[in-house]
């Protein structure tokens, strides 16, 4: 079903040439207004994000340091990029970022889908559930991260206490101290925090499906699984695609979670921690900016790949 409105073609009682002229005018007018409507967004983004990002591009080719930005900034070409790409720490961070993002996004999508489906049903306590599900998203990240640090503590953390009480483990696990359990622990916190985002978006998508579609389907096949896979899923597929993109963008840029729970440790760092460390702690603005650009390129290519992969389902100009 095409979404963009085509110019109406059915007959009206006017001379053909006048009608054609009106069609032309309509087309141009629509394009004109499209750009006018886009103007506020584009202007805002250019002002707010454009200039700083251009600055970052420029700095990535220099040897700038934060505190000497005004005095001596020399062009060094691709030296910063070479330094980063030959740094084993960078590749470890990249791998960690990918693993984390993949696990988080997959889990969040599945869980979010499940929650959205549940919330789409009518049942008692639905409003309570809706509000409850949003609570993790509502707590500021820096606080919930610290909270989970304490919950994961091996001496007085509630998670170890709970697991031992339930008999799942016999002694406290130092979740955040060993790289293997740490990744798992971090993913669970991220899933906790951002599943509401996915759930809410997918729910909105579900809400757009007219009820009579369901009625017809129920009369036809009946089995809820078939209805879900054959009707619901295809209809909300575009919504899921967008939710996944933005969730992935955030996951690939994750910082707060790792920083608060683990710190700036090389073997469990992410690319953003790497970049921030160069920028803020080492004051190496040139290298840090190069790292940011690399992150952008990496995320950008991933996004393009993803958009291309889901292309067949979307009708694009």
């Amino acid at each position: 079903m095409e979404a963009t409105a085509s110019v109406p073609v059915f007959p009206i009682d006017r001379p053909a040439s006048a009608f054609k002229r009106w069609q032309q005018w309509l087309l141009y007018s629509r394009v004109f207004w499209a750009w006018v409507f886009l103007a506020p967004t584009l202007i805002t983004l250019v002002l707010v994000a454009g200039r700083p990002l251009l600055g970052t591009f420029y700095l990535s080719f220099t040897d700038a340091e934060l505190l000497t930005l005004d005095d001596s900034v020399t062009w060094v070409g691709f030296k910063n990029y070479a330094a980063i790409l030959s740094d084993p720490d960078w590749w470890v961070a990249l791998r960690n970022t990918l693993v984390f993002s993949f696990l988080s996004v997959v889990l969040e999508t599945l869980l979010g889908l499940g929650i959205a489906l549940v919330l789409n049903e009518e049942f008692r306590g639905r409003s309570f559930l809706r509000a409850a599900v949003l609570v993790p998203w509502a707590i500021p990240t820096v606080i919930s991260a610290k909270m989970w640090t304490w919950m994961y503590n091996d001496m007085y953390g509630v998670i170890n206490a709970g697991f031992m009480a339930l008999g799942l483990t016999s002694e406290p696990v130092a979740w955040l101290s060993s790289p293997s359990t740490a990744m798992f622990a971090l993913v669970m916190v991220d899933v906790w925090k951002t599943t509401p985002f996915m759930a809410l978006l997918i729910l909105a998508g579900l809400q757009l499906i007219p009820k009579d579609v369901y009625e017809a389907a129920k009369l036809d096949s009946g089995s809820p699984f078939r209805i879900f896979f054959k009707i619901t899923l295809p209809l909300i597929q575009p919504t899921i695609a967008i939710a996944v993109i933005f969730r992935a963008l955030d996951a690939l840029r994750v910082f707060d979670l790792f920083y608060v729970l683990i710190g700036s440790k090389v073997d469990t760092g992410t690319v953003t921690i790497y970049a921030r460390q160069r920028l803020m702690e080492f004051q190496e603005f040139g290298v840090g900016s190069a790292a940011s650009v690399l992150i952008f390129l990496f995320i950008g290519s991933f996004t393009l790949l993803y958009l291309w992969a889901v292309r067949p389902q979307r009708d694009e100009a």
Partner: protein
């Protein structure tokens, strides 16, 4: 037409919002950043009020984030933009090298006599390229906390070397576990991968005579047998007398473990003393404090130098008044008041013999030696590169502690890394 009106409406709304948000211009006054909210700020405020009354210059207090990394990032942002918004900065002991270019020189503003009244190490720490960029305000040093009741129970004395401490901890830990307290461990410290680990590790290395990572002349000295011995020893304890969770502990987590009675020894800063003896603490009245152990018998005892100083921004619009305020806040009277009211460790060593101060803080008698001989981190020599040196150091140590890599190869790699950006020892 309607769209036109609509757009004008939007425009006016934005402009209105814009104008509403304009800050009001202020008359000449000082702004000082001296701590986040809480006790630190309160005491700073009362000191400032007294000065304000005396001189008639109003002072605003800027509250900064508690986390020192956030604070440094903010300071760098402001100083990099040459902002005159803050006149006086409270800076950490490892920041003079990083911020030196943007701070005023006190060398010409303060008499040599006044400078000599402060702890030598603290003053030396604040000198960068022969410029004294900050006056020391209060100091800190790592100490060893121990469970006096447990030592007494098993007839053991306070250990004086690290190896001794290791064996005492093991003995007590095993005996306590055997008698039912199964979650007892021997030793907790700050093992998370952050600046605190650098402090701990420096103490181990220096107390074995292994130098201080980078020597005052700029040489990278970390890869030596004594340093290796130190780190190997501590690393061997992970999992046996040190709970594996320690590798993600910072100060508060370690204090929590010790305060709930789950550890026999703890390394922490003096701040924990008051909290350990507060109402409701499991170990109230059972704790003792001692200097950290040495490597060899009768060897040097190393405590990492901590603390904060006050510096004046080079972009301040009222430098004369700012310097005056800093000299007032770091004066003997004010430091004495802060020691009595808030237990802030003075940087003027004479105060450690002052009767009134000692009456309120009897521990200062023991801490005096700790502070006077505290080991500074190599921030002065490495200057702006200090954070990088520290990060590489704590990463190498953390790898060794967690058993991911043996300390030998780890230190060797660290040496290579540091040398590569040390600019031939000139940093």
């Amino acid at each position: 037409m309607k769209v036109q009106l609509f757009r004008f409406f939007l425009f006016f709304v934005s402009v209105g919002f814009f104008l509403l948000g304009q800050p009001t211009a202020n008359a000449a006054e000082l702004t000082i950043s001296c701590g986040s909210n809480g006790l630190e700020r309160q005491i700073c405020q009362s000191g400032i009020d007294a000065w304000s009354k005396k001189t008639g210059v109003p002072v605003k207090v800027f509250s900064s984030p508690n986390d020192s990394n956030d604070r440094l990032a903010l300071y760098q942002q402001l100083l990099g933009a040459k902002s005159a918004d803050i006149d006086i900065y409270q800076i950490d002991v490892v920041w003079p090298g990083i911020l030196a270019k943007h701070l005023l020189d006190f060398e010409t503003q303060v008499s040599a006599k006044e400078v000599s009244e402060h702890i030598k190490g603290a003053i030396a720490n604040n000198r960068v390229d022969k410029r004294l960029v900050a006056l020391p305000w209060f100091t800190d040093g790592g100490v060893l906390y121990y469970r006096a009741d447990l030592l007494k129970k098993y007839g053991l004395s306070v250990p004086s070397t690290w190896e001794e401490m290791g064996s005492v901890a093991k003995v007590i830990m095993d005996k306590e576990r055997a008698s039912g307290a199964t979650d007892t461990w021997g030793y907790v410290y700050q093992g998370r991968a952050y600046e605190g680990l650098t402090c701990n590790a420096l103490e181990w290395v220096a107390s074995f005579g292994g130098g201080s990572v980078v020597e005052p002349d700029g040489k990278v000295s970390i890869n030596n047998p004594k340093a290796l011995k130190a780190i190997d020893l501590i690393a061997s304890w992970t999992g046996s007398i040190v709970p594996p969770g320690t590798l993600s502990y910072s100060e508060e987590e370690a204090r929590g473990a010790f305060q709930t009675g789950k550890a026999v020894f703890m390394r922490n800063w003096p701040y924990a003393w008051a909290l350990l003896n507060s109402e409701g603490s499991t170990v109230k009245g059972k704790v003792g404090m001692a200097p950290l152990p040495s490597g060899e018998k009768k060897g040097p005892r190393a405590a990492t130098l901590g603390g904060w100083s006050l510096a004046v921004s080079a972009y301040s619009k009222a430098p004369k008044e700012a310097v005056d305020l800093v000299r007032y806040l770091t004066s003997a009277e004010e430091q004495k008041r802060r020691a009595i009211e808030g237990s802030f460790n003075p940087t003027r060593f004479a105060l450690y013999d002052n009767k009134e101060v000692l009456a309120k803080n009897p521990l200062f008698k023991d801490l005096k030696a700790v502070f006077l001989n505290a080991v500074p981190r190599p921030a002065g020599k490495t200057g702006a590169k200090y954070n990088r040196v520290s990060a590489d150091f704590w990463n190498a140590v953390h790898q060794a502690l967690s058993g991911t890599e043996k300390a030998g190869p780890s230190l060797k790699r660290l040496e290579e890394k540091l040398t590569s950006y040390s600019n031939g020892g000139n940093w």
